[in-house]
C-alpha cells in the first residue's frame, strides 16, 4: 500500500461526493474537448470546401459575401455577370480552366447550381480531390441533373428519378417550375462540402426554366433548340490559372474591368477573413468552456476543503503512525490529482460516446464531420492543463491539512 492507495481508499470512502466531483470535472472536460473538436472540424471543413482554385469572380461585393454565396451557397449575389464579360475574361492567356456558376433556384431546400461539365472536371475540394460519381455520370442533355450525395440520400432519389426545380430559394409550392421536370443522371460521392447539398443542372436548363417551360423531360427535349437557351448571365465563376504567380495580375485586371463592376477574390485570403469573423464566436465558446472547467475546479476545491474538518482525526492518526506533515500534504495533492484524472478519463469516454452517437446527426444536419479520431496534440495539451490545474487546486486543501497537522500533532480534535 502506498500514499496513493491511501488517498484512493479515502476517496472511495467518500464516494458519493467523490463521484459527483468526478462528474463535474468530466462534464467540464467533455465541454472543453467538444468545443475544441467542433472548432477544429468547422475550420477544417471550411478550409476543405474549395481547393486549387486561384480566383473566384462575381459582381462587385465584399470578398466574404462572394465566397459565401459562390462556394458555401449561403446568401445571394448582389448582381449577375454578363455572359460576354465571362467569355472575355476566360479568353485571357493566363486562364487554364473556368467553372461558370448560376445560382438562384432551389429544389426542396437544396440549392440548384447551373454550371457546365467543367464543374465535374475541375472543381476540387479538400486536398486537391476532384469530384467523383458514386453513380451515373455528368449531365449531357438539357434536363439532366446531377445530385450531391446528401440531396440524393435525404430525398431518396435514384438514377432516373424525376425532380422539379423551383425558381427562387424559398421553394413555395406556387413557384415551382412544374412543367420542367429533370431526370437524375448522376449522383456525386460524398465530399463533406456544400457540394453534397447541391443540385447541379446545365446553364442552358436554368435559362430554359426562366424562359417559361415549354418542354418536358423524357420526350423530345433533344429537339429543343439549345441556341435559344444560350445563357445571358451567370452569377459567378471560378478560375484556375496556368501559374499561381499570375493571380495578382489577373485579379487586378478583373477588379478594374471596365464594362461592368466585378470582384475577383483569392479563396485562401477570403477564407481567412471569414474565419476571422467566425473566431469571435469560436473564442466565446472556448471562453465558456474554460469557465466551466474553472467552476468544476472550484467545486472540487470546496468538496476537499469541507472534507478536511471531518478528517482531522484521520490526519492525527496518520501523524501518530509517523506520517510527516509533507506526507499529509501529498495525500491531499494526490486526492485532487486522482479526482481530476478520473474526471478527465470519464470526460473523454463521454466525448467518444457522444461523438459515436451524434456525429451522423451532426454531419447530416450541419455538414460538420466530427470524426471519432484519436485525441490531437492540442487536445492532449488541454487535458494536461486541466490535470495540472487540478493538482494545483489540490495545494489549497493540502496546505490547510499541512497546517492543521502541524498544529494538532497527534491530539485528536473533533
Amino acid at each position: 500500500m502506498s500514499i496513493y492507495n491511501l488517498s484512493y481508499k479515502s476517496l472511495k470512502n467518500r464516494r458519493t461526493t467523490a463521484i459527483l466531483t468526478v462528474f463535474t470535472v468530466a462534464i467540464s472536460v467533455l465541454l472543453l474537448l467538444a468545443v475544441e473538436r467542433i472548432r477544429l472540424q468547422a475550420k477544417q471543413s471550411f478550409a476543405n470546401t474549395i481547393s486549387n482554385t486561384d480566383l473566384i469572380v462575381g459582381a462587385r461585393s465584399g470578398q466574404v459575401n462572394l465566397l459565401l454565396y459562390s462556394v458555401f451557397r449561403i446568401g445571394n449575389s448582389t448582381n449577375n455577370i454578363d455572359w460576354q464579360s465571362y467569355q472575355k475574361i476566360i479568353s485571357e492567356p493566363a486562364v487554364k480552366w473556368s467553372i461558370p456558376i448560376s445560382l438562384g433556384d432551389s429544389h426542396r431546400g437544396s440549392r440548384v447550381i447551373g454550371t457546365n461539365q467543367d464543374y465535374f472536371k475541375f472543381y476540387q475540394y479538400g486536398k486537391k480531390q476532384p469530384l467523383t460519381f458514386s453513380q451515373g455520370h455528368a449531365f449531357s442533355n438539357m434536363f439532366d441533373t446531377v445530385l450531391g450525395s446528401e440531396v440524393a440520400k435525404r430525398l431518396d432519389y435514384k438514377l432516373g428519378s424525376e425532380i422539379i426545380i423551383a425558381h427562387g430559394i424559398s421553394d413555395k409550392k406556387f413557384n415551382r417550375h412544374k412543367n420542367s421536370p429533370f431526370i437524375v443522371t448522376g449522383i456525386l460521392a460524398p465530399t463533406g462540402t456544400p457540394v453534397d447539398k447541391s443540385v447541379h443542372v446545365s446553364l442552358a436548363a436554368i435559362e430554359a426554366i426562366h424562359a417559361g417551360g415549354i418542354m418536358t423531360a423524357g420526350g423530345d427535349q433533344n429537339n429543343v433548340n439549345r441556341a435559344a437557351y444560350q445563357p445571358q448571365q451567370i452569377t459567378a465563376f471560378l478560375l484556375g490559372l496556368h501559374s499561381k504567380v499570375k493571380s495578382f495580375a489577373l485579379q487586378r485586371k478583373i477588379n478594374t474591368y471596365r464594362r461592368e463592376p466585378l470582384s475577383a477574390i483569392m479563396p485562401g485570403i477570403a477564407l481567412h477573413e471569414l474565419w476571422g469573423i467566425m473566431s469571435v464566436a469560436e473564442q466565446a465558446l472556448q471562453g465558456v468552456a474554460i469557465f466551466v472547467v474553472i467552476a468544476a475546479m472550484l467545486a472540487m476545491l470546496s468538496n476537499l476543503l469541507s472534507s478536511l474538518q471531518e478528517r482531522r482525526r484521520e490526519m492525527a492518526i496518520l501523524r501518530g503512525m509517523g506520517a510527516r506533515p509533507l506526507q499529509i500534504f501529498m495525500l491531499l495533492i494526490s486526492e485532487a490529482s486522482l479526482l481530476t484524472t478520473l474526471g478527465i478519463a470519464t470526460g473523454i469516454a463521454l466525448l467518444f460516446a457522444l461523438l459515436g452517437l451524434f456525429s451522423p446527426l451532426v454531419s447530416r444536419e450541419f455538414g460538420l464531420n466530427l470524426s471519432l479520431s484519436m485525441l490531437t496534440s492540442t487536445e492532449w495539451r488541454l487535458i494536461a492543463l486541466v490535470q495540472i490545474s487540478g493538482m494545483l487546486i489540490g495545494f489549497i486543501p493540502a496546505f490547510n491539512a499541512y497546517r492543521n497537522s502541524l498544529a494538532d500533532g497527534m491530539t485528536i480534535k473533533v
Partner: protein
C-alpha cells in the same frame, strides 16, 4: 539500559509565558512497563507529544533509544516515531476506510524498518498478532466501524506492535472500555510487549490499573510545574 531519558526538560507553548512541563529527570528502562497517572490537565498530552517527537522541548534534552531526540530535525523525529514507536490513542484509533488488516499494517507504510521486520509475510504477521490479541478471524475482513470498541482497541494494539517497535506508548487506551474489557486489554497488551521485548509507557487517570504494571509514577510527582492547567485541550 534506558530507553527514554529526560533531563531538565521544560516546555511552554509558543506565545505563552506559562511553563506546562518542567521535568528534572525521567527514565524508562528497556522492557519496563510503566504506568503514569495524572488527572486531565496535568500535562499528559504535552509529555506524550514530547516523547513521540511531535513537540520539541523549550529546554533540556530527551534521549530515546540512545538517540539525541532533541537534536533531530522535525522530519527525522517523524521518521524515528514511525520506526521505533507504536502509539495507541484513547479511542477511535482506526482509519474508517481501511480494513482491519490494512489498519494493522498502516505503520509499515511510513517505516521501511518495520516493513523489513516482517519480511514478506506482513499479512501473516498481522493475522498472528490479531489472533494472539484474541480477535476472532471473522473480524478481519469486516469494516472497522462494525467492530466493538474493545475490538477496535485490540486492533489498535496490534497496529502499535506490528514490526516490533522498541517502545509502545498508550494514551488512555482503556478509557472507553468497561472494567472487564479494560483488564483483559491490558493483559493482552502486556503479553505482546513481553513477547517482542517492547517497553510500555501507559498513561491513564485510572489509578485502579496501577497494580498491573512494573512501576508507577504520578505525573504530578515528576512535573515541577506549578500550574500546568492550560495545556492543549
Amino acid at each position: 539500559m534506558n530507553i527514554i531519558e529526560l533531563q531538565d526538560v521544560t516546555f511552554c507553548w509558543p506565545h505563552s509565558a506559562a511553563t506546562v512541563i518542567d521535568i528534572e529527570r525521567f527514565s524508562l528502562k528497556r522492557g519496563e512497563k510503566l504506568f503514569i497517572s495524572g488527572a486531565s490537565g496535568s500535562g499528559k498530552s504535552t509529555l506524550l507529544g514530547l516523547l513521540s517527537g511531535i513537540l520539541t522541548p523549550s529546554s533540556g534534552s530527551i534521549n530515546i533509544l540512545q538517540a539525541k531526540f532533541t537534536a533531530l530535525s522535525d522530519g527525522q523525529r517523524d521518521q524515528f516515531r514511525a520506526d521505533h514507536i507504536g502509539y495507541i490513542f484513547q479511542q477511535f484509533n482506526l482509519i474508517p476506510y481501511l480494513s482491519v488488516i490494512e489498519n494493522v499494517l498502516l505503520p509499515c507504510l511510513f517505516s521501511q524498518k518495520r516493513r523489513a521486520q516482517l519480511s514478506n509475510h506482513a499479512t501473516e504477521h498481522a493475522r498472528q498478532l490479531l489472533s494472539s490479541l484474541k480477535l476472532p478471524d471473522t473480524c478481519i475482513n469486516r469494516p472497522v466501524t462494525q467492530l466493538s470498541i474493545g475490538q477496535q482497541q485490540r486492533v489498535a494494539a496490534a497496529r502499535a506492535l506490528i514490526g516490533n517497535p522498541e517502545l509502545v506508548i498508550a494514551d488512555e487506551p482503556t478509557s472507553a472500555l468497561d472494567t472487564h474489557n479494560r483488564q483483559a486489554f491490558i493483559e493482552l497488551l502486556m503479553n505482546q510487549c513481553a513477547l517482542t521485548g517492547a517497553s510500555l509507557l501507559f498513561v491513564s487517570h485510572d489509578q485502579q490499573l496501577q497494580p498491573l504494571f512494573d512501576r508507577h509514577l504520578a505525573l504530578s510527582a515528576i512535573n515541577n510545574c506549578e500550574e500546568p492547567a492550560n495545556e492543549y485541550l
